[in-house]
Symmetry: C2
Amino acid sequence: MDSNSLALPDARDGLRYAIRAISLENISSLAKNGLGDPNIIPLWFGEGDRPAPAFIGEAMMRAVRAGEVFYTHQNGIPQLRAALSDYQTALGLRAIGPERITVTASGMNAMAMTVQMIAQAGDNIIVVDPVWPNLGGAAKVVGAQVRSVRMDLAADGWTLDLDKLTSAIDDRTRAVFFASPGNPTGAMIPMENQIAMLTLCRARGVWLIADEVYNRLVFGMDHGPTILDHADEEDRLVVMNSFSKSWAMTGWRLGWMVHPPSLGPTAAMMTQYQTSGVATFIQHAGVAAIREGEPFVASMRAYCEQGMAIVCEALEGYGRVRLGARPKAGMYAFFTVDGMRDSRAACLDILNRSRVGLAPGSFFGPGSDGFLRLCTCRSPDVLREAMTRLEEVLR
Amino acid sequence: MDSNSLALPDARDGLRYAIRAISLENISSLAKNGLGDPNIIPLWFGEGDRPAPAFIGEAMMRAVRAGEVFYTHQNGIPQLRAALSDYQTALGLRAIGPERITVTASGMNAMAMTVQMIAQAGDNIIVVDPVWPNLGGAAKVVGAQVRSVRMDLAADGWTLDLDKLTSAIDDRTRAVFFASPGNPTGAMIPMENQIAMLTLCRARGVWLIADEVYNRLVFGMDHGPTILDHADEEDRLVVMNSFSKSWAMTGWRLGWMVHPPSLGPTAAMMTQYQTSGVATFIQHAGVAAIREGEPFVASMRAYCEQGMAIVCEALEGYGRVRLGARPKAGMYAFFTVDGMRDSRAACLDILNRSRVGLAPGSFFGPGSDGFLRLCTCRSPDVLREAMTRLEEVLR
């Protein structure tokens, strides 16, 4: 706990105790030696092999040439906030005004700012996992405790036990975080459960933080449903999103959050003191992505679905692999391997033997150490080659 | 104090007490209504009217076309860390290895990460002012107290009283922050004073955070001296820097910090949980700026110096203005006006009457409310027009 640091002299390195206690273990540290090695098929990150479409880069370059290279609005440029307002409104049942949008330097940055606004040492944040660990990382940075409420894996997929969630909340709980569709599970939390979480959070004065990054990658649908449809605008709800996945803009570092209108000035202040905002020309790339990117988003959805079919068909043929119901969204297969206990050691072993990079389940919350995550957002040829290589070690 | 929030119910908006207590008052909020108004001469921000040279944008676009659009190293791409290592080594007396460089999403972001690594609620950070208020803002975000140690204005410029600094440090002091050359003062803190600060910080186990953003804009010199020349690599010293001023890249959101080698992994972790890094193509723009930007830096220095001469000559002719010694570095004139008490009200009045945007001294720490800041990084014609307009209200 962070508050212990009050009693601990910082003799070693002068850093906060809470900071020193945060593990650096993540996909980057695992991937470090293999980053950029052309002999490795990198299915460990949540990132595909397609760059963003050319029109997005061209929009950025037009903005640079037009002189969009100076300081700008801290909540984001009006054009992008308007585009995202239109986008969110079109995807949902309620109008989302631009005053509810803040542009961020990634989905991660939206999470970091949200956590910093609401939590501090002594508080706790509930994380519905298995889930991408970075909101938990941001919570640890401010000294807050991360409480895991794990979904259960049934024959038809992952389900959330609301009673478990309810009993995890106490007086120092500041937020409940969930992702739907999920990373790494691909699970969609039914809307009645999302509404139940919102109702619970309302009753307890707790924030609900929803990650909808994968909501355009729902197979067979234009988009998944959003909890925004069921929330009042001043509910303590932040929905965070990113250009990384649906527009293949991982390396562009652009995201946004939808927040209560009253949070806008505070989000501006937080932006001011954290990054002072996102490059205007990248925001113009974002405008192009939103305004002209729908055909590309559809093609990304088809690409991930095609990859998912190739991967699942192969995995289902390996005797030691337990995949369960095929994911209906997202870009990951998340599966167990009989006899495998230490997923990190298994990933290093697989990397050495098959030159395929996978992510260990241990990164996605307690209880997932028997799992491996594989990103399906790759070309069919590459995925078939990867599955051939993996067959040797996983069959 | 942040720790009070433990006792305060968050009935109003669910935000941390410390967050709610942070004033949103800054140049952006003052400038809000005038942002982009072509009738206003905007001398309020620390930003010139020149865009970055075209070769920097071209380097970025080449990187985009080459597919440098994916996730990358959290401390920065090896090419930029190497370029910055060479750059820092060439400017100083000691070699600065790439393991001491972390690329950040702005100078502000370097400050925010540094503060988060070392300070929390109950701690304090000493700020040598008048100075750009954003490090103090980042300190307030983590709930730390900001202690102002104000430099004194003498006939020959601003001087630091080391006794005042020494007596401000207590057991909860985690860092001393200073900028040299200063913003808004343009003052260069003599190296013997910087060394004394380092010695003091060493003795007390306190971090020294040095802002060297203006160190290439020292009139008549290639660069100012750096405290890195006098520090061991494991001293608790972070030197933060930015591409914003010397390379005219304010809107590109790119900075870096020089830190002890041992801090590298922690800086990577902090980057992971705050922004997950800077767009690779922007980092390639940074490589071009460092490797090919020296002629441009020299031209920026000349531009700021030329602007400073025009502004100072005019100000010295206004009966009510007290400028003191002309600044020898940077891009600001910082002056008092006889009879002016409330600098914010004065700025709004000047904006209305003369359509020139100035920044109020009150933003730069306690005791500066009688001052105004004017940015000199504008073309001679624009500055002459601004000074003509200002003469009416300031003479």
